[in-house]
């Protein structure tokens, strides 16, 4: 295989595999807990955080992680009350993005090292541009996220499926929720490096949505989601390598969307369980 002789491809494969694994695991719980909207929120925050760090002269990843994890803690602290007012939430996101544009201009105009494509790279990712140290760090962090998710998987599953019963059984529901959101934040920061902040929602939602469609059994779905995410990442990277016109983030997204579409259309669920249909 000639692809593996190129260091950039090996780095992308290393980082991409780890990131996809983490995104598949985290994404499954995100879909299960109906918190996909949180992923949307984090994508906006990731953009602004990364560009703020660049504008202030820090490493991009520092801004990514600081912004997403901080925001996740904030969301967790606020609780789920604010979910209903989508106008307020949408306005806040929109403003955060506007602020990101401000930092982008600040970065491109004030720093002579700044390049005009910084904004595009943050928005749409540049996985083929990772250096070996960046790729290794991304893989290690993603590995930690995977381990953490697996460590809390059982109580988190319980709390996600039936929060009230879990709370009654003395599962620390609230703490688990916050811990999970922090993991989502870290995972979003990781995914932003691979496919960019605008597209990370797809990486989180598509494999998980497909997995949830294919099987009802939680642990199978969790494993399937992670497996699908990794397979889609590999297929996307290969596609982008052999068809250089396709940017890697588009190739990954296209494969992920295609798999999800097949799962949606091809798999007919035994939907009509009489009696449950109303609920």
């Amino acid at each position: 295989m000639s692809a593996f002789t190129h260091p950039y491809f090996v780095h992308a494969l290393l980082a991409g595999t780890a990131i996809a694994l983490a995104a598949g695991l985290v994404g499954y719980f995100l879909v299960l807990r109906a918190q996909v909207f949180t992923g949307d929120a984090l994508s906006h925050v990731a953009f602004t955080g990364a560009l703020a760090a660049l504008a202030l002269g820090y490493d991009l990843r520092l801004g990514l992680f600081a912004a997403t994890v901080l925001f996740a803690v904030l969301l967790g602290a606020l609780g789920r009350r604010s979910r209903t007012d989508d106008v307020a939430i949408g306005s806040v996101f929109s403003w955060i993005l506007g602020l990101g544009v401000f930092f982008l201009t600040l970065y491109t105009t004030s720093r002579n090292t700044g390049n005009g494509t910084a904004g595009v790279n943050v928005l749409f990712g540049s996985i083929f541009g990772l250096s070996s140290s960046q790729a290794e760090l991304a893989a290690v962090v993603a590995g930690f996220i995977c381990l953490a998710v697996l460590a809390i998987a059982r109580p988190l599953l319980f709390a996600s499926v039936d929060e009230a019963v879990a709370a009654a059984r003395r599962v620390p529901v609230r703490l688990l929720g916050i811990a999970f959101l922090i993991l989502v934040g870290a995972c979003a920061a990781e995914a932003a490096q691979a496919v960019g902040s605008l597209l990370l929602l797809g990486l989180l939602a598509a494999p998980a949505g497909a997995a949830a469609r294919l099987t009802d059994r939680p642990y199978h779905a969790l494993a399937l989601s992670a497996g699908l995410a990794v397979a889609e990442m590999w297929a996307g990277l290969a596609l982008s390598y052999y068809v250089p016109q396709l940017p890697p983030s588009f190739a990954i997204m296209a494969v992920a969307t295609a798999v999800y579409a097949v799962a949606l259309i091809g798999v007919r669920r035994p939907r009509a369980r009489p009696g449950l249909a109303e609920a």
Partner: protein, 307 residues
């Protein structure tokens, strides 16, 4: 564009400042286009907020990015791409019942995937169209430079047509938006109205995207309307207020962007968001004062009764 030549600085005299700004044809066009878009977006946004369809607006805005990028790739004007994709997207949303709503779990996973895929498609078109990478920022975050007189004319005609259509369906639409069940019972064609409105919303989104960019459409479409509806509950008044806020935000945004190196998207979102926050604060204050008065009166009455 050399900013030092173009602007002699802010003089705190609005008349000379506006004269100075309007000495440039591109700024005159920017103000014309901004005014048209602000009025249309505010009116459509008002109905959208009332109907709680801001999620549909968000999706339509996302659709506009691949539309504009695809049109640029084909070499036709980005405006055509905006309109074609947004109206097409509106028809798709209208065709799928319950699409364009947040929903939970599986449904929102689907929406998120579709949105991410559309943005990825836009990125693909941009990547295929070489040498356009700088333009991504203006597609996503808006730009007021280089608006031609022809574009202004197209924006105005489309906006006039959309507003005309809205005046025709305005009354039944308001009825259907406020109470769908009663409206259905009274024989109002609720479903047809909803489809027509989505198409109109698509055109409004397409217009707003050309000023604020795909990602910041909320600034003109949602925030003025949401602020106005916080301030007053009377439909006509809050509709007028919404238009006024959108106009003020656009004009101040244009002026601020003219005098500084930062993009218009930042100013428009920031101004609109501050108005929204102020409106919410005003309402919260009013409610608190009202409650305080009520509590005071109640306590007084209670004390009187005891005495």
């Amino acid at each position: 564009m050399n900013w030092a030549d173009a602007s002699a600085g802010w003089s705190w005299n609005p008349v000379t400042d506006l004269q100075q700004i309007w000495a440039f044809p591109f700024m005159v066009n920017a103000f014309r286009a901004g005014t048209v878009v602000a009025v249309l977006a505010a009116v459509m946004g008002w109905f959208m907020v009332l109907r709680r369809q801001s999620f549909a607006g968000h999706t339509l805005a996302v659709v506009s990015f691949p539309g504009a990028a695809f049109a640029t790739l084909l070499g036709i004007g980005a405006g055509f791409g905006y309109f074609a994709f947004c109206v097409g997207g509106a028809l798709v949303i209208a065709a799928i019942p319950r699409a364009g709503q947040g929903g939970s779990g599986q449904e929102s996973a689907l929406t998120g995937t579709v949105q991410a895929f559309l943005l990825a498609c836009g990125f693909l078109f941009v990547a295929l169209y070489k040498g356009f990478l700088g333009g991504v920022n203006s597609l996503l975050f808006g730009s007021f430079l280089g608006i031609t007189t022809l574009q202004v004319a197209v924006l105005t005609i489309v906006a006039a047509a959309a507003l005309g259509a809205l005046t025709v369906i305005g009354r039944p639409l308001l009825f259907a938006s406020v109470d769908e069940n009663v409206a259905t019972g009274r024989g109002v064609p609720v479903r047809a109205l909803s489809v027509v409105f989505l198409v109109l919303l698509g055109t409004a989104t397409a217009e707003a995207s050309q000023i604020t960019g795909t990602l910041l459409v909320f600034a003109l479409l949602v925030m003025p309307a949401a602020a106005a509806q916080q301030l007053t509950a009377r439909p006509a008044l809050s509709l007028a207020l919404s238009v006024l806020i959108a106009l003020a935000v656009t004009w101040t945004g244009l002026i601020a962007a003219y005098y500084s190196p930062y993009p218009i998207g930042f100013y428009v979102t920031t101004f609109a968001f501050s108005v929204y926050v102020l409106a919410r604060a005003t309402r919260a204050l009013n409610t608190a004062v009202g409650r305080h008065r009520f509590a005071g009166a109640g306590a007084g009455a209670g004390a009187g009764a005891v005495a």
